[in-house]
């Protein structure tokens, strides 16, 4: 997977999970794929949907809804896989995240982005790069690197 992260762009890729609008820096996004058959890895956590064949390589795919605590829904024709890259242990790796729909690419200047509010416990705002608005709607800009670099999936032994 010869993908690289492009730094210093102010374009953001937006997508929806439930009714919320999320965004990631476009430098991290490499591909948008239609939902294809996902090979389940037995006994892995539920938000890890499995692996797919991405042009001859293995791509792990996460369920965005489950990962961010949204209720599980049936997939629709808008459901797709957002392929993104991030750095893990000094290496650039690819992952996929299933989102309800992809929207558009928007440009936010850094002064338009406000830091994440510090609300409540149990909400790790390290995961949020910042918040901005678009057409009176909040856009949550995610820090994908942070979310997935701490991820190491171990298989849970099934309980007899």
């Amino acid at each position: 997977m010869a993908a690289e992260i492009i730094q210093g762009l102010n374009s953001y890729f937006t997508f929806r999970l439930g009714s919320e609008l999320f965004a990631v820096n476009i430098g991290h996004v490499t591909k948008i794929l239609g939902l294809s058959e996902i090979t389940r890895v037995p006994n892995s956590p539920k938000y890890f949907r499995g692996i797919i064949n991405l042009f001859g390589d293995v791509l792990p795919v996460f369920d965005g809804r489950l990962k961010f605590g949204f209720p599980e829904v049936e997939s629709t024709r808008n459901t797709c896989i957002l392929v993104f890259v991030f750095e893990l242990d000094g290496q650039v790796v690819s992952s996929g995240i299933i989102v309800d729909s992809v929207e558009k690419v928007l440009i936010f200047e850094s002064d338009q982005i406000r830091p994440a509010p510090t609300v409540g416990k149990g909400f790790n705002n390290e995961y949020i790069h910042g918040i901005t608005t678009y057409k009176d709607e909040f856009v949550i800009i995610l820090n994908l690197e942070k979310i997935f670099s701490e991820e190491e999936i171990s298989l849970i032994k099934s309980v007899e």
Binding site: E37, V41, P42, N43, I51, N53, G56, V93, I153
Partner: protein, 685 residues
Amino acid sequence: MNSFAEKFKAEVGEYCERLESGLLLLEQDKENDQVIDEIFRIMHSMKGSGGMFGFDLISDVTHDLESLYDLFRNKKHKIDSEVITFTLNSIDGLHHLMVQKPEDEHLARAEELKLATRQQILRLTQEEITPENLKSPVRSSALEQVSNPVTYFISFIPDEDILANGTNPLYLIDELHALGECNIRVSFSQLPALSEINPEKCYLSWNLFIASTENVETLHDVFIFVTKHAQVTIEKVATFNVLQNEAVLSDFLNAKYKNEQWISLEPEVQPAIKTEIIDPDENEEAGVLLKSVAEVSKNSVFAQTTVDSIRVDSLKIDQYMNLVSELITAQSRLEMISTKIKNPDLEQISEAFEKLSRQLRDNAFYMSLIPLQSIAVRFKRLVHDLSKSLEKEVVLVTDGMETELDKNIIEKLIEPILHIIRNSLDHGIESKSARLAGQKDPVGTISIKASTIGSYVQIVIEDDGAGLDLNKIKEKAISKGIFPDLASMTQEEIFHLIFEPGFSTSELITDVSGRGVGMDVVKRRVQEMRGSIEISTEKNRFTRFTIKLPLSLSIIDGLLTSVGESYYVIPSSVIKKIYTIKRELLKTEFRQVVELEGIQFPYINLHQEFENGNHLPEEQFVVVVAFDNQSFGLVVDTVIREYQAVIKPLGRQLKGQDVFSGASILGTGQLALVIDTNKMIQKYS
């Protein structure tokens, strides 16, 4: 740093390795002229390429070393242990001189080495006049006589059933080839028509001329195990090497083969001028006549010993492996389409393609494997040096060094093994007096044995020393206060404490080992390679370390199976048998044990583990795999077919699990998970 300099450094490294192994050989057999020649030659090449690439110090020092070895090569002097040890040290010194722009420190070191070398030369040349050395000219002339090759004619007619006892006649021919220059012809005259061929019978026979410095007995010895199953005649045809003179050779060939149809295995030797046919009986005479011609051409031992190998960047091999992997993935897609379309032409191509890519895969795979032999010399060197400085007499016995492992694994293996040997030499093997007092052989033994077991390579390192002292380990553990709960530990668990960080039982800290860093690193290294290390010991008898490592396998032969709707690949190398089994047989068992053909196996039902036991099918398959020394059943829903799996890594996010060693892309584009059976059984049973 320019790439020439890099190349030179790599080259010097290799030269040094070869020098070391040569010197260690000399240690055993100080009069082996071939080895001395080889050493001289390597030094000469080092000198040459050192000068060429601007490493003048290296070329300077090797020049002097070369002069030293010239003394032995000319048989003016005999080599002794002191010289060997001196040379080994000089080789170590050479490593420090690999600089293009020498500073004072380097110059001083080079000067030192040169001086030491000159002293060695002086020491030897002064000793020269002792009466002992006067014998040497006699010996050398005797040697010269033997080294003149003599040509023999060998006819080897195996019985038809020679293959039945496991003999491969070609190996015998190969063996002969190793003894000298050969001209080989094979006869197909007994070969029946294709329809009548019995593949278990041998219909061929061989005739060959061999020019060898060995005597007739040695040649006879090659056939020692087949004397009852073959007719072998060996006759001396000339007292010189006939094969080197084409004209003479063709005469001999014509004489031998004039009545029969023989096919040459060598590129055809075309006689330039046809001379009259010489009768076999007159061979001896003809030989005498032509002797003067043959004597001119020198015996070319070196020409034959050149190694047919090229140096390839390991990166290129990795790229090659990747390409082969892609080819195999493409091939499985082709196969799938061809089975769907059912066009006989396409099927034929697909089959040929499959066969080729399989061969290509094996080829690529073996290319990236190197034998343990390549690092064995470092172990020998360590034992040689350390045993001397510790004043212990220790022999190193190696076995199975031809076992091959992935290059990357071998590189990572050197340090752990060196460390274990160092420990064995320092702590394991007792001093000579202690060994004598304990009625043991005063010479200690360290053995390294390697073998391939299934998809693992096992390396056993054993010394016949004092063994681990259980009480000392206990005391130590208590005094360090890290392991207070010793009472509940088994003996084995206590022995394994030596793998804990910061643990060292040696009372005296020596500069060899005993700093308490080491065994924990050894264990970690082995585990990094997905291997395991075990220890067993008996007081005053032995300490044994058993290291198990996976063969690196990025492409494997596997069995494609399915469980639920997913596909799984089980490596063929661990599979022993496959049975079908009815659901009720698995259900009625109280424990997870199933009895097949009167043998009981523990089993794991993958359907139950992976699919939470929903919709168990009526009939399943039990794939019996090897697990340690036992058999273990993996129950899958269906066994689909054999499958060449290109293993793709699951990605870093999944490295927390080790049950699946990777995934493989099927012809349909779907993925199949590759099961690491050992890890799976450990985890689920």
